[in-house]
């Protein structure tokens, strides 16, 4: 049964969901006005969204003859929470009622089918929104890293932005350049929608914390200028108390007479601390302490016992465990390092094990085993334990793949005329083709017959002796196989690709921003230009993401948004152009400077230096080359947008001309 303060028709009162889940009622505080609603009759439950000022729910009830609705506004300080709890409870009850009635309807056919209650989120204006949440859908166990939840968590997003500088930059820049029509909420939603995994990993990271540790071994008195000082934090003291209930007891019994400071410094020099740490007590050296030493014989096992967790392995599976569990050999007694009370032997092992046990007891089990289930029997173990041999063989649930002959797809309908080169091939009939081939081959084989093997040098057609003069006259006619010019062309192509490949390899190796900056410098792009290129690229990619998401949303409401984004992308092009212009200006300045220094050199020495403007790298071309993929992506977006827009314009025109 749950209840909350709520207003109904401007009167203060209380809304109560009965404990049997059958009715929800409201009772006024002042007079005995009362509203009772049968939960089974509820057809619709609506609540104001989390953003609205008022927290209220609306219950729509279907009676056989009429429909009535009640609106309750929560009035307490924690109105939002009340709203959540009440809706949650109601939702559950409605669900139960539905299943009950469904079961009831199954037996007598006379029972009237209950309409499916539908839960809606209602905007502040009261208009219906599109989002429907079916009550009937089984509510999954809440996933803390659910996509939607992560997207709503602005605090998490902020903290991620703060921890990740690159992301922050990207976010801020994209935010700055975004078209005004897009609201901040829309923008950030879009931004995070593509980065949910980042959010998730950050959330996981944040939820991790350091566990407890063995405090006694950490806290050590430090000798400073001949004075023993002890630095302990409040948390450490608490941890000591938690890990060693005995210390807590000693502390409680002794601190009023002793000062706190005195207690701890004595404690850390006492035999007691040695015992707790598991160190051997040397009777000759270790100082005695009349107050603390009396606790030395105190049996810690007494208060440690409840913490012990016996791992429960189902014994009939654990063959080795069964063998060991022999009554005459004392059964499955823990190892002597795990047993309490054996003080003499290896105290350090015993203490450490005990310590670990205590610490592990505080860690929530990661497997989330149900503590109320049969010992060691979670669903998985149960399945394991089942004697599968005795079961009937399960149905074969493999999917049989019937691969049809693929040649029907591929070779069918493949003729000379469907080929991509059909036009070029169609110039010759197959007979001509054959004769051309035979004829060519005659060349080579004829020479073979005579001289015993072909003269490869002749057959290849390479002319080593052809001078460059001939070369030029040849170039006018037709480039011959193996001619010098063609060989030169081939060489330059190969060398170019080798260079390209080498650069690619370097880029591949250098993935850090600093190194790619160096590479840019090598290409003649200065630092500032590179930075602005980097930023432009980042934001443009962001907008491209956004563009495609909106473009394919198919939502006419967002058409304006698409248009605006298109404009923004256009602006991105302008930005790239601006950067290119800057780079070009830089290059021009550099050329000028070189020319000037050359002139000075000529004046000074009377000699001329060779100068080729092409040797100055950088400028517009390099920038454009670097940004080429991006420009292409924008071009593609633009093209798609324009074609789709034109098609729809035409369509809408025809629609307005011939109204249906």
């Amino acid at each position: 049964m749950s209840e909350a303060a709520a207003q109904y028709k401007k009167k203060d009162g209380k809304i109560i969901v009965s404990s049997d889940g059958l009715t929800v009622s409201w009772k006024a505080n002042s007079d005995d006005l009362r509203v009772d609603v049968e939960i089974a009759a509820i057809t619709n439950l609506q609540q104001t969204p989390a953003t609205s000022a008022k927290a209220s729910i609306k219950i729509v009830v279907q009676h056989p003859d009429q429909t009535e609705n009640h609106t309750f506004t929560f009035t307490s300080a924690a109105a939002r929470d009340d709203q959540q709890t009440i809706t949650g409870v109601l939702r559950k009850c409605i669900e139960d009622a539905k299943t009950r009635s469904a079961a009831a309807a199954a037996i007598p056919a006379a029972a009237t089918p209950t309409p499916t209650p539908v839960l809606d989120n209602v905007g502040a204006s009261g208009a219906m929104t599109m989002a429907h949440t079916l009550v009937g859908a089984p509510k999954e166990k809440e996933d803390p890293f659910d996509d939607a939840k992560l997207l709503r968590d602005t605090a998490l997003q902020q903290s991620l932005l703060n921890s990740n500088v690159a992301l922050r930059e990207r976010f801020d820049l994209a935010l700055r350049d975004k078209p005004d029509t897009i609201t901040l909420a829309q923008f950030s939603n879009q931004f995070w929608a593509t980065r949910v995994p980042l959010l998730r990993s950050h959330a996981v990271q944040k939820s991790q914390g350091a566990g407890t540790y063995n405090v006694l071994s950490v806290v050590k008195p430090v000798l400073e200028q001949g004075v023993q000082t002890l630095n302990m934090s409040k948390e450490q003291i608490q941890l000591i108390f938690a890990q060693h209930p005995l210390v807590k007891r000693v502390y409680n019994e002794n601190v009023p007479p002793m000062s706190e400071r005195d207690f701890w410094s004595r404690f850390f020099h006492s035999r007691l601390v040695k015992k707790l740490k598991g160190e051997r007590i040397n009777d000759n050296i270790d100082p005695t302490d009349p107050k603390l030493d009396k606790y030395l014989d105190f049996n810690e096992a007494a208060d440690a016992a409840p913490q012990l967790l016996v791992p429960s392995v189902p014994l009939f599976l654990d063959v080795e465990g069964n063998e060991q569990n022999h009554s005459q050999r004392l059964g499955n007694r823990p190892d002597h390092t795990m047993r309490l009370g054996s003080h003499e032997k290896v105290p350090i092992l015993r203490t450490l094990n005990q310590m670990s046990e205590k610490m592990m007891a505080q860690v929530p089990p990661s497997d989330g085993a149900d503590r109320h289930g049969p010992a060691g029997m979670d669903e998985e173990t149960y399945k394991q334990v089942q004697l599968h041999d005795l079961e009937r063989t399960a149905d074969d649930n493999r999917v049989v793949l019937n691969i049809q002959d693929q040649s029907q797809f591929f070779s069918a309908g493949q003729g000379v005329h469907t080929s991509s080169s059909a036009a070029t091939y169609a110039k010759r009939t197959p007979i001509q083709v054959l004769s051309v081939m035979q004829q060519q081959f005659q060349h080579i084989s004829a020479s073979q017959a005579q001289t015993g093997g072909i003269n490869l040098q002749l057959a290849m057609g390479t002319e080593e002796e052809s001078s460059s003069d001939e070369e030029e006259s040849q170039a006018n006619k037709k480039s011959k196989v193996g001619s010098r010019s063609s060989r030169r062309g081939a060489t330059s192509q190969i060398v170019n690709t080798i260079k390209q490949r080498q650069r690619l390899g370097e880029e591949f190796l250098s993935s850090t921003p600093e190194q790619s900056r160096q590479l840019a410098l090598q290409m003649g792009i200065s630092g500032p230009v590179y930075d602005s290129l980097f930023i432009t690229h980042n934001t443009t990619v962001e907008f491209l993401h956004y563009f495609w998401a909106v473009f394919y949303s198919g939502d006419a409401e967002r058409a304006n948004e698409v248009a605006k984004l298109m404009e923004t992308l256009g602006k991105s092009l302008d930005r790239i152009k601006a950067v290119a212009d800057t780079a070009e200006a830089e290059r021009a300045a550099q050329i000028q400077a070189t020319v000037k220094s050359n002139e000075e050199y000529t004046q000074r020495t009377g000699r001329k230096r060779r100068f080729d403007a092409n040797n100055i790298k950088g400028g517009k071309n390099v920038v454009n080359h670097l940004m080429q993929p991006l420009t292409r992506a924008i071009g593609k977006a633009k093209h798609e947008y324009e074609t789709a827009l034109q098609a729809q314009m035409r369509q809408s025109k025809t629609e307005t001309l011939n109204p249906v």
Partner: protein, 376 residues
């Protein structure tokens, strides 16, 4: 152990460069070569390739070569000459006695003693020319009419199987127990660890339309990838889609010559280094690779396709007959995979004002909300 029995085991590791096997797949599609005849006649190209083969053979004593013709109607070996299926006393074609194969035929030539020619070169040359002549003779008009392209898939499989066989012959694998026994019997013996054969495939391609054989070629590519056999591509003509992927996936060299006339230069500069030499070289390679796949239904090369979740067949459209996969027949509804048609014209203003409910739920989570479109 060694210290106790005092006998040292010598393991001789062969430091020399492993021999390399070059398998050349020569696309002999008559259509394409006839088309190229003005710039690069087939005979000349063949001569260039022969020189290249000689260079390869000359660069290592144990180097070997295989040449496979990928023709319109069949793929066959040009070298080594395949042994006829009937048992013969001497089926070995590599010893140069090729003349025995075709003494009755007028077009075949015997290896003559030419003092100016290194005998192994002459062997290879004669075998290739003879077999090529036979291949051309066997080509009928009907074969050419049937297809505009070449059987590159079959040729690749032949090359791979030849390489596999050669690798086995080169280093007979002895089981470990055998070696252990030998070691016990003769501890002083020097054990030689075999240097494995470094193989590569060079495809000299002139045909387009290879998407027809998407599946067999892809399978061959994966096999080569597994066996670490680089596939080099020399693309003299035709579209590039599939073969570029082959070279990229296997780490081979891809070349599309701007000047096919300089064929020999391309062969020598880009393709002569064997896999061992390549480790210390920067090999030429074009930057962008076209990774697109061909759809199974219309053999179109697709940018965005749909993939059957059961058999991984690729389709170019979401309209499948009866929502069944064409290849495996399992139910495959692609309706959900298509993205909404963009709506770019704002709807007429409704009278009822929307209370900013839109701003609370903007955008789908992922663009296009599609589950299996594949960006190839």
């Amino acid at each position: 152990m060694n210290a106790i029995d005092a006998s040292e085991h010598h393991e001789r590791v062969d430091e020399s460069v492993p021999p390399s096997l070059l398998a050349i797949v020569l696309d002999t599609n008559p259509h394409a070569w006839a088309h190229l005849s003005s710039t690069l006649p087939l005979a000349t190209a063949l001569a260039n390739i022969l020189v290249f083969i000689n260079a390869h053979l000359a660069s290592g004593n144990a180097n070997s070569v295989a040449v496979i013709a990928s023709h319109s109607n069949k793929s066959c070996f040009l070298y080594p000459t395949p042994a006829p299926s009937s048992p013969r006393p001497q089926p070995n074609a590599t010893n140069g006695d090729v003349d025995m194969n075709g003494t009755t035929e007028t077009t075949s030539y015997s290896v003559q003693d030419n003092p100016n020619k290194y005998r192994p070169f002459a062997n290879v040359e004669t075998a290739i020319l003879n077999n090529f002549a036979k291949l051309m003779e066997g080509t009928k008009e009907s074969h050419l009419e049937a297809t505009p392209t070449t059987l590159i898939g079959g040729a690749l499989s032949l090359a791979l199987s030849f390489i596999a066989k050669a690798t086995l012959l080169h280093s007979p694998s002895t089981s470990n127990s055998d070696e252990a026994m030998l070691a016990i019997a003769d501890p002083e013996a020097i054990h030689t660890s075999y240097v494995s054969l470094a193989s590569r495939i060079l495809i000299v391609s002139v045909s387009g339309d290879l998407a027809n054989q998407y599946i067999p070629v892809m399978n061959s590519i994966f096999a080569a990838q597994r066996k670490r056999i680089p596939i080099d591509i020399l693309k003299l003509a035709g579209d590039t889609v599939l073969l570029q992927q082959a070279s990229d996936a296997t780490g081979g060299v891809y070349m599309k010559p701007e000047r096919p006339e300089g064929l020999l230069q391309y062969l020598m500069m880009a393709f002569l280094p064997d896999p061992t030499a390549r480790k210390s070289l920067v090999m030429p390679s074009a930057g962008g690779v076209d990774f697109r796949a061909a759809c199974f239904c219309h053999r179109k090369v697709v940018d965005i396709g749909y993939v059957c979740s059961v058999c991984l067949s690729i389709f170019c459209s979401h309209d499948l007959p009866d929502n069944l996969c064409l290849t495996c027949g399992s139910y495959l509804s692609l309706r959900a995979a298509q993205s909404n048609p963009p709506a770019l014209i704002p709807r007429k203003k409704k009278k009822k004002k929307r209370a900013g409910a839109d701003s609370a739920t903007p955008g789908g989570s992922t663009p296009a909300g599609s589950n299996t479109p594949m960006h190839a």
